[in-house]
Amino acid sequence: DVKVTQSSRYLVKRTGEKVFLECVQDMDHENMFWYRQDPGLGLRLIYFSYDVKMKEKGDIPEGYSVSREKKERFSLILESASTNQTSMYLCASSQVGDATNEKLFFGSGTQLSVL
């Protein structure tokens, strides 16, 4: 089974801190995604990456950046955390070109609280 691992389940940070959220997948997937989940808003795409060192902005990239130096690892960076970035963050990955099995595999989420 595909495994997508997020390094922290819960994280508490202070306003202004630099925050790193790490995600690792073990199935050699090309695509990786970062979503933010808020009540009443569902999952919103922050950034995605379709290859090493490649990235594309999603719907809400402001205040975030990403890094993908290795295929299996996709990091979300909050340069200066703010209270409005308190949220659940979900990482996902998918395989390109598998038409019979197109879907996303998700990590178990990181609940970030910014105080």
């Binding site: 979503y35 879907k103 996303l104």
Partner: protein, 113 residues
């Protein structure tokens, strides 16, 4: 960008009964995929069912089935013989051929004993 709308923030159903969750989407693309994901209290997103837009036949997975109306851009999920373990958030999602997936706001389903 594509948009996905789930108009029912919360629903409840009695155990063993049937419930239908609604989803509509907006796209100009002709080839795409639609999904229902379940998120129980564990927070793990679990794929419930998947539909390719080019297939007219509605997907089914055991007690779960969809009513896919491509012209109306509607993709509802029917859960038959509801079980307590079906209690969860349900998200409808649209994915284009580039694997760009967008989600609805979710429907919180409670199955009552």
């Amino acid at each position: 960008a594509q948009t996905v709308t789930q108009s029912q923030p919360e629903m409840s159903v009695q155990e063993a009964e049937t419930v239908t969750l609604s989803c509509t989407y907006d796209t100009s693309e002709s080839n795409y995929y639609l999904f229902w994901y379940k998120q129980p209290p564990s927070r793990q997103m679990i794929l419930v069912i998947r539909q390719e837009a080019y297939k007219q036949q509605n997907a089914t997975e055991n007690r779960f089935s969809v009513n896919f109306q491509k012209a109306a851009k509607s993709f509802s999920l029917k859960i038959s013989d509801s079980q307590l373990g079906d209690t969860a958030m349900y998200f409808c999602a649209f994915m284009n051929i580039n694997n760009d997936m967008r989600f609805g706001a979710g429907t919180r389903l409670t199955v009552k004993p």
